[in-house]
Symmetry: C2
Subunit: 121 residues, 2 copies
Amino acid sequence: MPYEPINLADKFERLTEQWSPRVVAEMNDYQFKVVRVQGDFVWHDHPETDETFLVLEGELRIDFRDGAVRLRAGELFVVPKGVEHKPCAEGEVKLMLIEPRGVVNTGEAGGERTAENDLWI
Amino acid sequence: MPYEPINLADKFERLTEQWSPRVVAEMNDYQFKVVRVQGDFVWHDHPETDETFLVLEGELRIDFRDGAVRLRAGELFVVPKGVEHKPCAEGEVKLMLIEPRGVVNTGEAGGERTAENDLWI
């Protein structure tokens, strides 16, 4: 049987659109998603689940109502469920999101920045 | 409130022992673990859960009964639940494991290679 590694750099080469997470793998009911981001996102939260950010390239700031965290390549952060956050990136950032299947990028906030969910690459 | 990134390189600097996974973060009931491996592990499986390997440095081969996959830095693979596998590394490999809390490194196989579970770093 053929077993193929999932190469994150290859996935990013095929993903040109920003703020559009694409699933690369599933583990039980969780998904690994790659996403390119730049600029400010919207304030939102995920009332049902934590959400993990792992930065692969660039620098990401995640704002909270009472602080912020800066993530560089090789750094991760788990945003606890129900905590409002706003990702911001001055330059383009390549990151991996890890979260349960079905989580929408804008959480409960909705709006025009909501990306189609469960797209694979 | 202070928000601190989890820097994987820093975690590996503090982890000298091989084959001894250490938890660096939790997302819901899942854990992110760093581990250094070198040489051959034992055949085992995890009947209750998938298990994700993300290689950060070095080259890891995961043998299956009917094939194998080779993972280099920036590559990941999800071993499906119940599938027997044996990680092997010629040189030292730094990797991150992602799996539910409570998963033991040797799965159902047990034996002397079983590491203490739920150790943090």
